[in-house]
């Protein structure tokens, strides 16, 4: 009898422990990179709608960070806003409101940068999400994917993207792409290959009506 009770108690304990440890592995971590270089800074209004979608979809316990892509993006200073939502829905709602305000303020006051360091942003995103320990990790790149590094910046480090979903959003075609579409294809293929070689999953969403595909898988 005592043995049975001991087994039952152990089972309950195991379930409780696994239940607690399970919460992190089920949470989502989203790191959104906003390209502020050149003319693409004008597209940031669209980024706001994406962010609103994310705020509506993310649940208590999930993590969201928004960072800008500028000349040197591998820096904590480039993180515009970051939050891990409280477990209580009512608190999480208030946090979402505050987060939206913060990003809106950034978008209204943003200045375009000379260079575009996408790789640095991705590296920073990997570091941040790994630190948060989210179960499902998403790096959203709101950019035309044309990287332009300032002199002296080295970004030939391979990405460690196991368990990461990298999604390029609103990849606009540049004037040169219109003249030679191969340039656009090459750009996309290059990033795709880099993410694949890092062990991550790559996808593109250009139509912002299909944002539900971000978490479809």
């Amino acid at each position: 009898m005592k043995k049975t009770i001991a087994i039952a108690l152990s089972l309950i304990l195991i379930i409780a422990i696994t239940g607690c440890s399970d919460s992190k592995s089920r949470s989502k971590g989203v790191y959104m990179l906003l390209d502020t270089s050149g003319t693409y800074a004008l597209e940031l209004k669209k980024a706001q709608s994406i962010l609103n979608y994310l705020l509506g979809v993310l649940q208590p316990g999930d993590t969201l960070a928004v960072a800008r892509i500028d000349t040197g993006s591998f820096s904590e200073k480039d993180i515009v806003a970051k939050i891990t939502f409280d477990e209580r829905p009512s608190y999480a709602n208030n946090q979402k409101r505050a987060f939206q305000q913060e990003v809106n303020s950034f978008v209204s006051a943003v200045k375009s940068s000379k260079y575009t360091d996408i790789s640095g942003g991705i590296l920073q995103g990997i570091e941040y999400l790994n630190e948060q320990g989210s179960g499902q990790k998403f790096i959203l790149i709101f950019s035309d994917l044309k990287q332009e590094l300032a002199k002296g910046y080295k970004r030939d480090i391979p990405f460690q993207l196991q368990g990461f979903n990298v999604i390029a959003l609103n990849v606009t075609k540049l004037r040169a792409d219109n003249i030679d579409p191969n340039q656009y294809q090459d750009r996309v293929t290059k990033w795709h290959a880099e993410v694949d070689s890092g062990g991550g999953t790559w996808s593109i969403i250009n139509d912002l009506e299909n944002l539900d595909q971000i978490f479809a898988n």
């Binding site: 509506g56 316990g61 209580r88 829905p89």
Partner: protein
């Protein structure tokens, strides 16, 4: 070496083929008897094995049916006992209630009878008759006047006095009669009260008679069940099936109620236990909500048990009344507290839902719609949150019916399945038997030239000496049993076992 070359005995292909066919027919002819015996044995093995298995299955089915019948009868006896017990309780209550009041009624009736008697006696008092003044007055009036005024005056005075006294006497007589009538009038409500008291007694006795008839009826049913008659078995089986389906339907409705209840409290529970933690694959808040509902159901179950409405836990029903009353109050209080908690959670849910909707509108960039000022949805949710736990507590009643009737229904289904299995086994056995016969006949059909030749050579005499295939099958004595009925199978096979 190719096979064609090996088969070519002569250079002529047709001749080679013919020789091979003749050799083959000869070989098949010589192997005919062993083949017939082997095939006959094989088909008999299949047939007998299947029939034995079928008999065993049917035996199990018979035992199961017997067991079902016992269970059904036991349940029926218990139910009949409960009914009789309830009727006796009612009779007891009626007798206690009526007999308690009986001395009072008797006293009332006695008092009323005494009063009636007294009133009757009073009304029987005859008023004093009028004095016989009239002849005296007439005789005085007839006295001849002598002209003496003094006499005239005296007579006049006598006449007046007599007349006045006469009037007074009449008045007295009338008032006496009026008093008697009044007494009689007063007797009327007393009579009515007596009649009412007697009617009440009559009703009580009538009620007792009715209960006694019900008890007689239940006792008849009880006797039928005790005798385990087929009529009782049919009645109980039908009743059990009806109970099963009705209880199942009510449980499904209750499940719907529990689901609504769950939806009412799952969201606000995330505010209490957090919305991001999980137990296994389920959210902790959902599990917590489910646990609350299950606790409510359990409390409801215990409450019904304590009230002796259901009898799922005999230990609760057999508690002494004091302990049972305590249990009733404890479970009811817990249920009320949980209902209050649910009501509060429902209120919180409404607030969270409003907040979420406002956030969605903000994120969507649309102008925020004015919040509904009506409190009806909020109050409605709170009332539902409060009522549903109490409503769910009544699930214990259909649950008990479902559990008790499911034993019978499962037994019937299992018996049916066994019967079907026995049928399939018998079918396979018979198919095996006839397949054996078919193969033997096909064999003979293939080698018919050899058989024909044998007939030609040996003539009709030898035919009778050889065991034909029917004889091979009849040896086992199974040809006729292939079409017998199920009930004979056990009787037939049991000696073999």
């Amino acid at each position: 070496m190719p096979l064609a070359n090996m088969l070519s005995i002569t250079s002529n292909t047709f001749l080679s083929m013919l020789i091979w066919i003749v050799l083959l027919l000869a070989a098949l002819y010589f192997a005919r008897k062993p083949f017939h015996r082997a095939m006959g044995s094989f088909s008999r093995i299949i047939h007998n094995a299947m029939r034995l298995t079928a008999a065993s299955v049917l035996s199990a089915e018979k035992k199961l049916v017997q067991r079902n019948r016992e269970v059904l009868m036991a349940a029926g006896l218990e139910s009949a006992e409960r009914l009789v017990e309830r009727e006796f309780d009612r009779i007891n209550a009626a007798v206690v209630r009526d007999l308690e009041g009986y001395p009072n009624i008797q006293r009332q009736l006695s008092e009323l009878t005494t009063r009636l008697d007294e009133d009757y006696s009073q009304s029987a008092d005859v008023p004093s008759e009028l004095p016989n003044w009239i002849p005296i007055i007439e005789s005085i009036a007839n006295i001849k006047q002598s002209g003496d005024s003094m006499v005239a005056n005296m007579l006049g005075e006598i006449n007046r006095t007599l007349t006045e006294q006469h009037k007074a006497s009449i008045e007295n007589y009338r008032s006496s009669n009026a008093a008697r009538h009044s007494i009689l009038n007063k007797m009327l409500p007393v009579w009515r009260r007596v009649q009412k008291a007697l009617n009440d007694i009559g009703k009580s006795i009538g009620n007792l008679n009715q209960r006694a008839k019900s008890i007689d009826r239940y006792m008849d049913e009880y006797e039928q069940i005790r005798m385990q008659s087929d009529k009782a078995a049919r009645m109980l089986s039908s009743s059990s099936l009806t109970q099963f389906f009705i209880a199942g339907l009510v449980l499904m409705i209750a499940f719907g109620g529990a689901l609504i209840n769950f939806n009412l409290i799952a969201l606000p529970m995330s505010e209490m236990v957090g919305g991001a933690s999980y137990i296994g694959p389920y959210k902790t808040s959902d599990v917590a909500g489910l646990v609350i509902i299950l606790i409510e159901l359990t409390m409801g179950l215990f409450l019904m048990e304590s009230l002796r409405i259901t009898r799922l836990f005999p230990i609760i029903g057999s508690m002494d009344d004091k302990m049972r009353m305590r249990m009733i109050w404890i479970t009811f209080t817990l249920l009320a507290v949980l209902a209050g908690v649910e009501s509060a959670l429902a209120f919180m849910r409404d607030r969270i839902a409003q907040d979420m909707e406002a956030l969605r509108q903000t994120l969507a960039g649309v102008e925020q719609a004015k919040a509904a000022t009506s409190l009806i949805p909020t109050v409605g949710q709170m009332i539902m949150g409060f009522i549903l736990p109490f409503a769910l507590s009544f699930v214990a009643i259909p649950l008990e019916s479902f559990v008790s009737s499911s034993r019978t229904v499962l037994g019937i289904v299992a018996a049916g399945a066994l019967r079907l299995l026995a049928f399939i086994l018998r079918l396979i056995g018979n198919l095996g038997y006839y397949a054996g016969r078919l193969v033997i006949n096909m064999y003979d059909l293939i080698i018919f030239p050899s058989i024909w030749l044998e007939g030609v050579i040996t003539g009709s005499k030898s035919k009778t000496k050889e065991p034909v295939e029917e004889q091979l099958f009849e040896d086992g004595g199974i040809t006729e049993e292939a079409v017998d009925n199920f009930n004979d199978t056990i009787e037939y096979k049991e000696p073999q076992e």
